[in-house]
């Protein structure tokens, strides 16, 4: 397994025109994973990653916390309820929202050099 290519979060946010929903924000992210299936994320996401999803219910926070995911980006302009944002804040997980679709956001992240390797086949 190659060491993950860590990128600064701030330029990525600019590229995504992303709005920060939480105050907490990591300096960097280690990679990216995209899925709306929670078990899939539990299986394949890696710690420190940026996770793109359209799911906005509170289990997203639980799953992110379980896997030490650093940032969750809600696409298509979706935003979770304020109490879910508060829970994420408590867990130290950053939540972002962008108006871009998941596909468009993924394209921009790839172009910025963010990769999504994991240790599975």
């Amino acid at each position: 397994m190659n060491p993950p290519a860590t990128l600064q979060l701030a330029p990525l946010m600019a590229a995504l025109q992303a709005e920060a929903l939480t105050v907490c924000r990591p300096e960097t992210v280690t990679g990216c994973y995209i899925s709306d299936l929670l078990s899939d994320v539990l299986a394949y996401a890696e710690p420190g990653m940026l996770w793109l999803t359209i799911q906005t219910h509170r289990n997203v926070v639980s799953v992110a916390a379980t896997k030490d995911i650093a940032v969750v980006l809600f696409t298509c302009g979706r935003k979770p309820e304020p109490e879910i944002v508060a829970e994420a804040e408590e867990e130290g997980i950053a939540l972002l929202s962008t108006r871009l679709t998941t596909y468009e956001a993924a394209g921009k992240l790839w172009a910025a050099g963010l990769r999504g390797e994991n240790s599975h086949e």
Partner: protein, 320 residues
């Protein structure tokens, strides 16, 4: 004086809806539990003098008059006083006893017995069984004694139970063991992850390797959501020891029809709502398997499903 039983002591004191143990007992206990038995009786041909002697020697204030266990009447201490007063103390009981005596049945609750004592002004009631046989006699004092005895017994049981619990907790502490246990309700998607969260906290505080912590968290989270999605409800227990984490998930049914099939990735029986929330991808059990060092699942359509997963701490296993 014994301390109050736990159910009286540690409950919310301000809760007026709470029923006291004594209140429960007067409904639970029967007349047969409180009565004196067998009743001290006399024959109809016995003289009132004989009965007076009996009352004095046995320290009782009423004697049922029976013939072959059939109640014929009752002689009370008032009857004896009248007999002495009017000079018929040597006459047989049957000529002066009270007939048509009010009786209680042995299966009556104590609350009903108390009501009968309040309604009538008698100091005692003969007690009959279902076959109309005299089986005992009951006074208000008997009821009080019976309640006191049962309260005391319950209090002792509660104290013993508490001591057992305290000993178990002390043993857990000595072994550096933390046990997290929670009920999991079916369909309660909002609560998913609570047990996993508590467990992560403990593992983080103990400085457990993050990969192992994540594996344990995945097992707990998937096991919990399985109960929420598929079962009628259950319980999750996470036992954290210095060398391993054991996660046990037990539900009350309906059971997994084919475990081998359920272990295949992508196979799911989840309904529409959980799927819309991103559950039911058919990856739960495969995820649990991947993250466990040791996994046992048994399922029975009658008893439900029991999952036992162990994650060893400090030894390399699967990478999450």
């Amino acid at each position: 004086m014994h301390p109050a039983p736990a159910s009286l002591r540690d409950g919310e004191a301000g809760d007026a809806r709470r029923t006291s143990l004594a209140q429960i007992l007067v409904y639970e206990l029967r007349v047969r539990d409180a009565m004196s038995k067998p009743a001290i009786t006399a024959a109809p041909t016995d003289s009132l003098r004989v009965i007076q002697t009996l009352m004095k020697s046995r320290r009782i204030s009423g004697v049922p008059i029976t013939n072959a266990e059939v109640l014929l009447g009752l002689v009370s201490i008032e009857d004896i006083i009248n007999a002495l007063d009017r000079g018929y103390i040597n006459e047989p009981a049957e000529s002066h006893m009270a007939r048509n005596v009010i009786t209680l049945r042995d299966h009556f609750s104590l609350v009903r017995a108390v009501a009968e004592f309040d309604r009538h002004e008698f100091g005692r009631f003969p007690v009959l069984d279902g076959d109309e046989h005299l089986v005992g006699i009951i006074t208000r004092g008997d009821i009080t004694n019976c309640l006191m005895m049962h309260l005391e017994r319950r209090a002792e049981e509660a104290i013993a139970q508490e001591a057992t619990l305290r000993a178990a907790r002390a043993a857990d502490m000595a072994a550096n063991r933390v046990v997290i246990r929670a009920h999991v309700r079916t369909g309660d998607y909002d609560s998913a992850g609570k047990i996993s969260q508590q467990m992560r906290q403990v593992l983080r505080e103990r400085g457990v390797d993050p990969q192992i912590r994540r594996r344990a968290a995945v097992v707990a989270y998937e096991a919990e959501t399985n109960i929420i999605i598929h079962s009628l409800g259950g319980e999750i227990t996470a036992t954290i020891d210095p060398d391993k984490v054991v996660i046990e998930a037990v539900d009350t049914g309906p059971g997994i029809e084919n475990i081998d099939q359920a272990m295949q990735e992508g196979w799911s029986t989840a309904g529409r709502l959980p799927r819309e929330l991103g559950f039911g991808a058919g990856m739960g059990l495969p995820n649990i398997k991947r993250c466990s060092d040791d996994l046992k699942i048994t399922s029975d359509s009658q008893k439900g499903t029991r999952l036992h997963s162990e994650i060893r701490i400090g030894k390399p296993g699967a990478t999450p």
